[in-house]
């Protein structure tokens, strides 16, 4: 079994707000992230796939196809966008880094051919990241 990781970057804005909370609760739980005018990050995404090496190509996965999948499903959908307003998953879910990793996993896992998705890692900043391994 070989694990292969592809990285890409995207920049997006978001805010944290739970409509079931009062204004005070939102501010207490989410702090500065509750500012409804939003703020932004440069996200770095690392996608790790696993599989056996194809004896004909020597590949676990065709990197061009993986790159195109990340481009179509993540970069096109999220780069330079407002996550709350432009990415359908976050019409109801709060776009925390946790939920972003889960949303990216769900976008990729059904469309990945040949190799199997192992881990989605999303860096919100250099000192903060979330890993999602699917249902554990």
């Amino acid at each position: 079994m070989i694990y292969l990781t592809r990285k890409c970057e995207f920049s997006a804005s978001h805010y944290y707000h739970n409509p079931d909370f009062t204004l005070e609760e939102n501010q207490r739980v989410f702090g500065k992230c509750a500012n409804l005018n939003g703020h932004g990050h440069n996200y770095t995404l690392e996608v790790t796939v696993k599989g056996d090496v194809d004896p004909t190509t020597g590949f676990v996965v065709d990197l061009k196809r993986l790159k195109d999948l990340l481009s179509d499903e993540v970069v096109e959908a999220m780069d330079h966008r407002h996550l709350n307003k432009e990415v359908p998953e976050f019409a109801v879910k709060i776009p925390t880094t946790e939920n972003l990793a889960i949303a990216i996993w769900e976008r990729l896992s059904s469309k990945l051919r040949v190799a199997q998705l192992h881990r989605v890692r999303v860096y919100e900043m250099q000192d903060l990241f979330v890993d999602y391994y699917g249902e554990e």
Partner: protein
């Protein structure tokens, strides 16, 4: 939906690697420059990984403010800009980064209850890193 959240903190401290169980010559042979009697220091980068279900009401594994506050109070205030050899945890324990990772893990495990503590990873330099986790927890 279980996710793993990792936060990275920078801590600067000095240490000297010297074991009371070894002779002076053995200490020099085992630890080399790290046995220098006057010690030396590092900027340690400590990555703390916690895990748990993502709350449906907050979208979070835990509140980062709580983790930051616990790390600041329990680790930074006691270890940052200190000589590790002078701390009670290392009175009978060589302050290698292996042992530092285990010490940090067990302190956080006692004091942080906002999510499950999964792993402590420490970069001693850009070339050396150490991970401590309970054996059953490795992802």
């Amino acid at each position: 939906m279980k996710a793993h959240l990792t936060r990275r903190y920078i801590l600067s401290a000095s240490h000297r690697l010297h074991s009371e169980r070894l002779s002076d010559a053995e200490n020099r042979a085992v630890y080399g420059k790290c046995n220098n009697p006057h010690g030396h220091g590092h900027n340690y980068a400590i990555e703390v990984t916690v895990s748990g279900p993502v709350s449906t009401s907050t979208g979070m594994v835990c509140n980062l403010v709580d983790l930051d506050e616990c790390f600041r109070h329990e680790i930074m205030e006691r270890f940052d800009h200190q000589n590790l050899n002078t701390l009670p945890e290392f009175a009978n324990l060589v302050p290698t980064t292996e042992n530092l990772a285990a010490v940090v893990f067990h302190i956080l495990k006692r004091h942080f209850h906002g999510a499950h503590l999964q792993k402590v990873k420490i970069d001693e330099t850009q070339n050396n890193s150490f991970e401590y986790f309970e054996e059953t927890q490795r992802p």
